[in-house]
């Protein structure tokens, strides 16, 4: 069985009293251990699809199973799914509470999920993304854009998810920090046996990271690429 199995997924938003059909019959399977890429023009529904897989957008139609469990629409994730599926958001401000210090933002999910040694885990997670422990006492606005994104990645990794959903994780980073973060993601993925779904508008990032990828257009999957196609530069073709 696939790690993510989605069939005929549809999402409609109500907007100024008209329904807008945003995801239109998405069918996709993602295998354990894969890094699966999603690309496509702005507004085509990439973030919406990730939010459905993350259990954040629960108003959908179709069928979906995650990590071998069938998931029903309009239901919150519970138990292992809640921990094992984590997301890094496109806009790091959206995921960090502006008035909570970094240490608190990282400790909270650990405490909620009853993990031991939260302080030690926080320090380790910060070190993994290149920070010393003193950054824990800062507020999000006291960090640069790229530093906030690294914090968001550290937080998602804390719960050692099986499936990590990455929405433009490096688009706010300069090339040298991007290289460090991509290397880190690859290392941690192997070490902890994770799978990734990676959204990026940069075909080079998709080409470097992904085993397979799909191009979305207007809420549908328009094409899928295997590794040989990606190696031949398919992600960059228009």
């Amino acid at each position: 069985m696939s790690l993510v199995d989605i069939s005929d997924l549809n999402v409609t938003f109500r907007d100024q009293d008209v329904g807008r059909h945003i995801l239109r019959g998405i069918t996709v399977a993602i295998e354990e251990g894969e890094t699966f890429g999603l690309l496509g023009p702005s507004g085509c529904g990439k973030s919406t699809l990730l939010r459905v897989i993350a259990g954040l957008n629960r108003d959908w139609h179709g069928s979906m199973s995650l990590l071998g469990e069938a998931v029903a629409p309009r239901r919150r994730f519970t138990g292992k799914l809640r921990r094992q599926v984590q997301m890094v958001f496109q806009d790091p401000y959206a995921s960090l509470h502006p008035r909570h210090r970094i240490g608190r933002a990282l400790r909270e999910p650990l405490v909620v999920n009853g993990l031991d040694n939260p302080d030690k885990r926080v320090t380790e997670a910060l070190a993994e993304v290149g920070f010393g422990p003193d950054v824990a006492s800062r507020y999000p606005h006291q960090l640069s854009g790229g530093q906030r994104q690294r914090i968001a990645i550290a937080r998602a990794l804390l719960l050692r998810p099986k499936l990590l959903l990455l929405d433009e994780p490096t688009s706010a980073l300069d090339m040298s920090v991007q290289a460090e973060i991509l290397n880190l993601l690859v290392t941690l993925k192997a070490r902890f046996g994770m799978s990734f779904v990676l959204v990026s508008h940069d075909p080079d990032v998709i080409g470097h990271m992904c085993d397979r990828a799909a191009r979305m257009a207007e809420g549908r999957i328009a094409a899928t690429f295997d590794r040989p196609a990606l190696a031949a530069g398919a992600a960059a073709a228009r």
């Binding site: 702005s42 854009g145 433009e168 300069d174 090339m175 508008h201 080409g207 470097h208 990271m209 031949a232």
Partner: protein
């Protein structure tokens, strides 16, 4: 080089207090520019956004800005009162911020936010404001300007939010436009389209542009000159088209560590910070 009198910056520093004494995040940098396109690149946390904020009087307390000289069009920015800043910001200098969701007001419709600078800085009437706002939303490449006009920030995708930010800044036609990663959330086609629009306006109106970007290729293609920042200092200055040939170790790494389909399965080269900071 263009006439370097639009903006003049001498020994600009930004400091924050901390438990262990003040921390300087911008170390007395100097540069001057005319009606030209200046690219500002450099590593995450090196002080690019702080420099931009200092130029527009938006470094939040307890941060402290000092400079020997900071002038725009000959006017001393350091001497501006908060009220004068309010006028300058928007009409003389515009800043497109890095995080669109943070910069946009979540409870105000997009249309009102784009019109706001016209309300503050021009005598345009309601109907004209609406017309110009819609035209600007269209110019930044939003597929359905009227829908965007009536939307609220949470109803837009990441890339749409970024284009709205750009529209709110460009509509007031500032003399100096500072764009902080204005296209990082856009796909390649749209990125070029938005930059083309920005450059067209900059050229037509003889404005200056400071483009903060981590996309070296973009800076090389769109800018005249480039400044490279590392840890609060400008470490490299060169014509933008020469970025790929820089001899500076940091700038060189920035080119070398770019991913591609050919690097799949191999670690990307990374910066040797220890060596760099030892003063290579």
């Amino acid at each position: 080089m263009a006439d370097p009198t639009l903006l003049n910056v001498e020994r600009l520093s930004v400091r924050f207090p901390s438990d262990r004494g003040p921390v300087e995040v911008v170390h007395g940098i100097s540069f001057a520019m005319g009606a030209e396109k200046l690219g500002l690149v450099g590593e995450s946390g090196s002080g690019k956004s702080m420099t931009a904020r200092a130029l527009i009087g938006l470094v939040a307390k307890p941060g402290r800005v000092t400079a020997d000289r900071l002038t725009l069009d000959g006017v001393d920015l350091a001497g501006l009162s908060p009220r004068q800043w309010k006028h300058w910001r928007g009409s003389k200098i515009g800043l497109v911020l890095q995080d669109p969701k943070f910069a946009l007001d979540p409870v105000m419709s997009i249309g009102r936010q784009v019109e706001e600078p016209l309300k503050l800085h021009t005598a345009a009437k309601k109907a004209e404001r609406r017309e110009r706002a819609l035209a600007m939303l269209e110019a930044v490449g939003l597929p359905d300007p009227l829908r965007a006009y009536h939307s609220y920030p949470h109803q837009l995708s990441g890339g749409m939010g970024q284009r709205v930010m750009l529209a709110t800044t460009l509509i007031a036609e500032p003399r100096l436009l500072i764009a902080d990663e204005p296209t990082s959330a856009l796909d390649r086609d749209l990125r070029d389209q938005v930059l083309d629009l920005m450059l067209k306006l900059v050229d037509e109106r003889q404005m200056g542009l400071i483009l903060i970007s981590h996309d070296l290729d973009q800076v090389a293609r769109f800018c005249d000159r480039a400044l490279v920042m590392y840890r609060g200092d400008i470490v490299d200055r060169l014509p933008a088209s020469e970025l790929a040939n820089s001899q500076h170790p940091y700038t060189k790494t920035l080119w070398a560590c770019r991913p591609s389909p050919a690097t799949y399965g191999t670690p990307l080269p990374t910066l040797d910070r220890v060596r760099l900071e030892a003063g290579a």
